[in-house]
Symmetry: C2
Subunit: 742 residues, 2 copies
């Protein structure tokens, strides 16, 4: 009987402890209040609102400069106002080219008639709005009129040109045709130009997002034969935003570069086409059959070329300034109005943009509405919440970049965090972001339920990560439920906040069970989205609950839920990676050189096919990592100390609490190098950057990593020292936080 | 001056040593003579003969039972006789079905008209011989008339059915359609039948040997849209050869099984078709989209099915006995006439069979001619050389199997080695075989020059092996030039010799720069072969020099060039593999069971698609390998001892030399288990067998490995003991050889 009593008592304590959930950075009392508001918030989120708003916002093409783009901004501004937000539409005036002439033809060929036009789908209400659609094109392509032989360059990344060199194929003076995918699209013409090509065609291969992957629209969500991926080819890895106003807001009277001096505008004409239009071009190609990994899904034998027949590509654009409409809606903080929690999503689309970006935009709107309802019931966020609906993301992150550049002084002072979303769909939660937020994000993911399986989104993502791992690795991964944040590269509106200003950022969403090929085409419609991507907006609701919860919890925390240890561990992992990269480059170089000297490449190659062996490469020196390694040890110890003391933070005086919060959110600023990265000073964050030759693909420790990749040993050594300094400055901030807590 | 003298002296000794090449198993004097004969042999080999013979032999379809099949045998017998060989045509009379009725249709469909007929290629001299060609079919398919829904089963191997079960798809009562490749073709209907399917269609997907791989005939060598791969679907992993006379020669008056009792005849109707004929069938399929690894290269979205429409398949065959013509040509040995070095290749083709088998056959003919020229000049091989040209290999290794079964007593006594070749083409030497011959084969490969690069075929193969390795592994492999012999599975005429009788065997050829899709179709013509596979018969010449050299050196060796150490090392590697397989199966099972219990597979799966989680599996026990491990230690020591003493062997008395040779070549017989492998007693070799569920694919230590794969732990343990006994018996033979040398 006694034993049973004891067990009961333990059980009681356990249940009490359970019901008293701890929250990072909250006193127990405030945590309980916060959780209660979050519960009410969840109850307010309605799928039907998201549905209604998406239907309106996607009813017509709403690209930059279109009537619907402006109408949508006004519609959303009115919603925010009606919910009690201090709302403004902030306009900027960047350069935004649109097509005037698009000619693509095989010279002398009478049968090749590229449509350069996507076909309407019967039963889809918006795909037939031809007169309102932007023609398919790549924004910031050069004007040009070129005629030349065609060469197939696979994905058009540097490694592909090395492979072509092995086959004795040169693109100098040629037009290249590249498959979409494998890099951000702007890399393709950039690298083609660097290799001497005079024009670039990019097409969507059915192996990537057409019939090879699944049924095409309207049977499924994959790309039909006429579908074309629009998109920007601006050289955003150098700087995003208006090419004429780097580092400044493109206000009406801003000082502008001459267009010819804007280095981010592509140097050669570039045109995206469909796979139906691409097939006759691919069939022109002679020369060697492509390597197996280059093959696409069209029923032809892919050759590298060149073609015998010439191709004529002529493009002309209207180089106009267009007005952007950013919607900025503020809910001032009750205690810390000068600490801003910024939540954003863009609203412009390439065409009707239901999935991209409206699926994320309507989730954000619903978060804002629900918070406004809570406010009516007495909810008072400590910090200011800023909801943003960006315009012009598609061409070049225009709206967010110009706004961030324009407001940079205020943002550096006030911005605690920027929380981004973009397209959203059915599936698993994903999250990228500043690694100081990793434990916090895991706390959030534990509190949101997956609509399909009714386990937490963290549990479902865990199941996914185990099942999608190689069978041999699964056992190692079992039990580790921590969601590792991905590093932020580029591709959506967090870029300026994180990489230009050093504002800790997150990008979140759901996906993985919403594949398709509608991206940046007329098929990204309300009808396709609601049929295939997120029927019933279940994951729109899940995104609202996740991003809204992140926003509210950051806005309400007594002490910001920052964990330096996660940051340390992650960066230390990156350091391991770059050291390994250097080692691998060294042994790879030695092996390659040995093989070249022994003529093994030549002996192994089919002598009936052209083969140009690679040249002997210079040996890879050992670099001195010690300054950085020593700095990392300091950071490790400071971070561990801070983590140990963190629970005490909520017991600080209000004044010290404020001091600590200030240190915490500004710590990320110390990762900014005012001189920026080599050859692209706009990018100033020393830990995360988009790859110079990968685009979207993130490069962590970019200064070091890309120097090694480019075999620039001097630059690699210099950047080790730069990062060491940055890490020391960061560690000083951590130590300042520790000092406050001691 | 003194130093220079010393260096000169060393150099002189070095050069002398170089010029006095050592040969395994030869005295120095005999090695010099042998090498001189080989040099003369090389000089005699003519491409033009191979060309002329191929032109004649491939001039008409020459499948079993065709007039040209018989004419070819007589033509070759006359050649052998004209060169002085004791030549006979030995006939057998196996069951060989040919098609009477072939119906394939979509029920009620008026537009689906499968051609079931390959189209002639303008400019190719033989593809238009329609009336002489066997229609496309799978030999030893059952007669049948079935109508059912269609299901796509990928390659049709057991793992594919597990995947289908996960998708909730059952093939019971259905007709399956499978892609060629991924297993021997006979496995596909066998596994389909085991899962309840009532019919099987096999098609050649363009991703495997059609336009995806390269240009199709006549632009290139790949399979055109109407091309069909003929081939046997007899259950040869149970036993090859005549289904009616297992273990006995199918002589005229042999005792025959009733056809209904012949277990190797397929139980359901099976038809091979082209990709043009397959496409409308694949487009019928509904249900889930296939997993990415199942996709083919047709421009459709591949679904698993089932179809809604039914498919009708009706097949009837003429079940006749057909006469085979094996050509057997002997050159009696001057000293050891009862030790036979057997060299064989088959001569029957599915149609005109230029590449398969004539490219190997004409190389063998030229070896025989050249040797006969040497004999005229005084060359006297010690051992008897037996040249064989097998009939009926294509349907089921009929000719070689019936001959080996018929002559088994004599062969067990006399056969030293069986050296096989089959189709041959441009590229790199490959070799599979009994591992006692590995050092010997390397010695040979060092003495043959690659016709394209003029380095040795060993050097070229080495370059290929390094370059085709993963970049990360190359450094490890650099410098190791040893050609590791592959293990012999099935797929050509060595099967009876090695796996039924325990005669050490080798299978050699060249390839890798001769890809194509003409295999078993009308396109395997003289015109295609001489244009794409081995223009100028350069590699036919290289094959003659390699296989002829092997034959001559084995026929001439004082002591057979056997190395037990290579065998030991190889088998010890297999033992490591099966232990690792058991360990991996154990940890995999534990991981899977954990994941099933935690519902991870279900949680990770898209809930809108059917998913049947796998069942919990029984745990994997630890097995007792100690007997086998102890036996391997004994073998290791005996083999090392023999290797140490081997150089002394040529100093033995003639009598002891003979005793030693007898032990050496019969050692392989002790690897034979008279009871055979579980469920297929015809296969008696305990080290090498074709896989029961992979067909061509070899399974080493088959009794142990397949029991583990089938999770039959009792059988695995039993087979460990069996192999231990076999290894002990083998070690006794090695020790007997050692004793002779001591």
């Amino acid at each position: 009987m006694k034993k049973l009593l004891f067990i009961t008592a333990v059980l009681f304590l356990f249940l009490t402890a359970q019901s008293q959930q701890k929250l990072m950075g909250f006193t127990d009392a405030n945590a309980a209040k916060q959780l209660d508001w979050e519960k009410q918030f969840d109850a307010l989120i309605k799928a039907s609102n998201q549905d209604e708003w998406m239907k309106f916002l996607s009813s017509h093409p709403h690209h930059v400069g279109s009537p619907q783009d402006k109408a949508n901004a006004e519609y959303m501004a009115n919603l925010f106002r009606s919910w009690g937000y201090q709302t403004e539409i902030e306009s900027y005036y960047p350069l935004f080219p649109t097509p005037k002439t698009r000619v693509l033809e095989i010279v002398g060929d009478k049968t090749y008639k590229p449509k350069l036009q996507e076909s309407a789908i019967p039963g889809d209400k918006t795909t037939g709005q031809y007169s309102e659609q932007l023609p398919s094109y790549n924004a910031y392509s050069a004007d040009g009129d070129v005629t030349a032989e065609l060469v197939f360059v696979n994905r058009g990344v540097p490694a592909d040109y090395e492979e072509l060199a092995r086959m004795g194929v040169d693109v100098k003076g040629k037009i290249v045709i590249a498959k979409y995918g494998g890099s951000w699209r702007g890399i393709k013409p950039k690298v083609a130009y660097e290799h001497g090509a005079i024009g670039c065609i990019i097409y969507s291969d059915p192996a990537d997002d057409g019939y090879v992957q699944g049924d095409v629209y309207p049977e499924g969500a994959f790309r039909p034969k006429d579908g074309v991926q629009r998109g920007s080819v601006m050289d955003m890895p150098v700087y995003p935003g208006d090419p004429l106003t780097p580092d400044a807001g493109a206000t009406k009277d801003a000082k502008r570069l001459d267009r010819k001096d804007a280095i981010t505008i592509m140097k050669i004409p570039v045109l995206p086409i469909s796979y139906a239009d691409a097939q006759p071009l691919l069939q022109l190609l002679k020369g060697q059959v492509v390597p197996p990994s280059w093959r696409g899904g069209l029923p032809v034998t892919y050759h590298v070329g060149p073609s015998v027949e010439k191709v004529h590509l002529k493009l002309e654009f209207n180089w106009d300034l267009k007005q952007l409409y950013n919607v900025i809606a503020k809910m001032p903080g009750s205690e810390l109005p000068d600490e801003w929690v910024i939540r954003g999503n863009h609203h412009d689309g390439w065409v009707n943009g239901a999935g991209d970006p409206l699926s994320g935009m309507v989730a954000e709107l619903e978060e804002a509405r629900a918070i406004s309802e809570l406010v009516k019931k007495g909810y008072k966020p400590k910090r200011t919440i800023v909801f943003c609906a960006w315009d012009g993301e598609e061409p070049a992150l225009l709206g967010s970049t110009e706004w961030a550049e324009d407001h940079q002084q205020e943002l550096k002072q006030k911005a605690v965090v920027y929380i981004n979303s973009d397209g959203n769909g059915r599936g698993f939660v994903y999250a990228e972001g500043s690694h100081t937020f990793e434990p916090f994000f895991n706390e959030i993911a534990n509190d949101v339920t997956d609509p399909q399986t009714h386990v937490t989104i963290k549990e479902r993502r865990y199941a996914h990560s185990i099942v999608s791992a190689d069978a041999a690795n699964r056992n190692k991964l079992l039990g580790n439920k921590n969601i590792k944040l991905g590093a932020l590269g580029a591709g959506s509106d967090y870029s300026s906040f994180l990489q230009h200003l050093g504002i800790a950022s997150m990008d979140i969403g759901f996906g993985g069970e919403d594949p398709g090929g509608e991206y940046h085409s007329i098929y990204d419609s309300y009808d396709l989205f609601t049929k295939f991507k997120d029927p019933g907006f279940e994951y729109g609701v899940a995104l609202s609950k996740t991003a809204g919860r992140i926003t509210m919890r950051l806005a309400g925390a007594d002490i910001l839920p920052i964990n330096f240890n996660s940051f340390y561990k992650t960066v230390n992992g990156y350091l391991d990676e770059v050291r390994t990269l250097l080692e691998n480059t060294r042994s790879q170089t030695e092996t390659d050189n040995k093989m070249i000297k022994e003529k093994l490449f030549v002996l192994a190659h089919d002598p009936t096919k052209t083969y140009v062996p690679p040249a002997i490469k210079g040996l890879v020196p050992f670099l001195n990592f010690s300054d950085l390694e020593n700095a990392m040890v300091q950071l490790r110890d400071a971070s561990a100390e801070f983590e140990k003391l963190y629970d005490k933070a909520t017991q600080l005086s209000a004044d010290k609490e404020n001091q600590l919060n200030d240190i915490l959110y500004k710590a990320e600023r110390s990762l900014i190098n005012p001189d920026g990265l080599p050859r692209r000073s706009w990018y100033k964050h020393e830990i995360y950057a988009p790859g110079y030759y990968t685009g979207y693909g993130v490069k962590t420790l970019p200064g070091i990593r890309e120097a090694i990749e480019q075999r620039n040993w001097k630059e690699a050594q210099d950047n080790i020292e730069i990062v060491a300094k940055i890490i020391k400055a960061y560690t000083d901030r951590v130590n300042a936080a520790v000092a406050l807590l001691k």
